[in-house]
């Protein structure tokens, strides 16, 4: 059987670039403000007088002790993240054994590096591909607020313009011990999450909107 190679690539590089440019400009126009940090649920315990059940405690313990980070290292903080990963400051003893290349299998994004407007749609895409529950640690000064490059024409002043951030770790770059402290803070935050659904919530969730009772 013959194989006939038709090496015609119907591939227009310029139109791919124009599409990418349009996406970046659209994202830049829509991210003028800062996305608020997700911390309202920390006060829920007090507001609604709910205490964490043993089941909640067990689920939180499992989640916080096996956080798997997603791959996302643009710049210099990546070197300190790698140093935190290898033998001297071992991150594996905190459960972060695997660095998952596929964001669908990860639940933590440690953003190690400066975010530029050209990279922003890709980071947003990676964040949206992660499954709930997911958390974000902003590592380094560039991730918290733009850092030393804050007034540059191509730099996003902080990851919280694009994705919601849970823990901020300052430093330029932060030492591996600082990153470990940030991860432990996140673990304390996860320990207070409320997971189990109470019966009134379930009823409300199942009832279709605008319809009274069941047909």
């Amino acid at each position: 059987m013959e194989i006939e190679k038709s090496l015609s690539a119907t591939y227009d590089s310029k139109s791919i670039d124009i599409l990418e440019g349009a996406e970046i400009e659209a994202l830049k126009a829509s991210s003028a403000g800062v996305i608020p940090d997700p911390d309202e649920w920390l006060n829920e315990e007090i507001k609604r007088n709910i205490f964490l059940t043993t089941l909640d405690w067990a689920i939180n313990w499992a989640r916080r002790s096996s956080l798997w980070p997603a791959v996302s290292f643009p710049a210099c903080c990546a070197m300190e993240f790698m140093s935190a990963f290898v033998a001297r400051f071992d991150l594996a003893r905190f459960g972060m054994e695997n660095m998952r290349s596929s964001p669908r299998q990860a639940d933590l994004m440690i953003t190690a590096g400066t975010l530029t407007w050209k990279m922003a749609p890709q980071i947003k895409r990676v964040y949206e591909q992660m499954a709930e529950p997911k958390w974000v640690i902003a590592m380094g000064a560039c991730a918290c607020s733009g850092g030393i490059f804050a007034n540059s024409y191509a730099v996003v002043p902080g990851y919280n313009h694009i994705i919601p951030v849970d823990v901020y770790v300052p430093g330029c770059p932060p030492r591996p011990e600082a990153l470990l402290y940030g991860i432990q803070t996140l673990q304390k935050k996860i320990a207070r999450m409320h997971n189990t659904i109470t019966v009134p919530d379930l009823k409300k969730a199942l009832e279709p909107e605008g319809v009274q009772g069941s047909a």
Binding site: E4, L7, A75, S83, M119, I148
Partner: protein, 368 residues
């Protein structure tokens, strides 16, 4: 009956596992073989050249740290040499020797990372990287003693260095340079004759001499193709003419040669450090008298040094104000990537990753 095939486009990056940062390649593939490739950069473009026009000459030094973040001391040195050439400043002896020691230690550090990354790309998942990082941590301890920082040092200043090293530095350095040959031999034994590594890198991605010179490649990439050109010997800066060392060159210009040249350069760096430690004056000034706000005379300068990645050049135009009029960085990683397209076409995608890893780039410098 004939089957017809078509090419398809595969997008590699910018978020990918290979530890070189945010780099994207649009590859046109025919099955597993790459037919055409187009690299896309700019995902880490932070506008350093424009930011430098708004900062004083001393204030640009932290910006230079963050360009090639695997070799921050080299970037600092190149900037300080350029400013010193503009102003005509002479650096005191002890500062010169300290600079050479720091830069050569940094070269060993950067080559460790480069070799670890090449092996990571070959598929030795993390183990050589972990071994290399063990040594890097020892060198980071020394840098932390001298400058207070592990990664972006901000150590050198126009006219010398910012602070003298503490007393514990020299004994710790002597202890480390006694241990390093043992580690180099361990890696040589494990890697240079390893069958799998040889099969993955020998005769892959051959860069000929003419192509290397025409593409302005520099550093280990140029030397692996057999061209003996090292700026430390050809155009000596600082006090490199006082040291004896050799320039290792490869024979064929394949990926293995690029790894081997880096391995041998680490031995030569160790030789330079040993000589510097013998010759360094025990006491002396570490910075010459330089005004706090530097105002160079009107003029321009292009200074180049041999950084671990290649020829790093700084072009500064000054108009007698406290900030430069134009600040340009000749980035070795960006220019070495000119060779990527010719090297990769015709190879399978797994080989393309190894070839790209052997050129050894750092995205902070490519994009600036």
């Amino acid at each position: 009956m004939a089957i017809s095939t078509e090419t398809f486009i595969l997008n590699i990056g910018p978020v990918h596992m290979s530890t070189h940062g945010v780099f994207r390649m649009k590859a046109v593939m025919d099955g597993e073989v790459i037919v055409d490739i187009e690299p896309v950069f700019g995902y880490l473009h932070r506008g350093i050249e424009k930011l430098a026009e708004q900062r004083t000459y001393t204030g640009i030094i932290p910006l230079t740290d963050r360009m090639d973040y695997t070799a921050s001391m080299s970037n600092n040195l190149a900037h300080c040499l350029a400013v010193e050439k503009l102003m005509g400043i002479k650096v005191p002896e002890r500062a010169e020797y300290l600079r050479v020691i720091m830069v050569e230690l940094q070269r060993i550090c950067a080559h460790f990372l480069a070799i670890g990354a090449i092996l990571n790309d070959c598929g030795a998942w993390g183990t050589p990287m972990m071994y290399m990082f063990r040594e890097r941590e020892k060198i980071f301890d020394l840098f932390e003693m001298a400058s207070g920082q592990r990664l972006t040092y901000n150590y050198m200043r126009p006219g010398g260095v910012s602070q003298d090293v503490p007393e514990e530095f020299m004994p710790a350095l002597k202890k480390l340079i006694a241990q390093l040959p043992g580690y180099f031999e361990e890696y040589d034994q494990l890697l240079s004759k390893n069958e799998i590594f040889l099969a993955r890198t020998k005769k892959i991605g051959i860069l000929t001499k003419e192509m290397a010179i025409n593409s302005s490649a520099s550093g280990p990439v140029l030397r692996a193709s057999g061209i003996k050109w090292d700026i430390r010997k050809a155009d000596p800066y600082s006090i490199y003419d006082r040291f004896e060392f050799e320039i290792p060159t490869g024979k064929t210009g394949d990926c293995f040669d690029r790894y081997w040249v880096r391995m041998q350069e680490m031995w030569q760096s160790l030789r330079i450090i040993e000589q510097a430690v013998k010759q360094i004056p025990t006491k002396g000034e570490i910075r010459s008298k330089v005004p706090a706000l530097i105002r160079p005379p009107v003029g321009e300068v292009y200074t180049r040094i041999e950084s671990p990645k290649g020829e790093l050049g700084f072009y500064i135009v000054s108009d007698h104000s406290i900030a430069p009029y134009r600040y340009h960085v000749r980035s070795p990683c960006l220019i070495n990537l000119t060779t990527l397209r010719d090297l990769v076409i015709g190879w399978k995608i797994a080989d393309a990753i190894v070839i790209f890893g052997s050129i050894d780039i750092c995205m902070g410098e490519v994009d600036r």
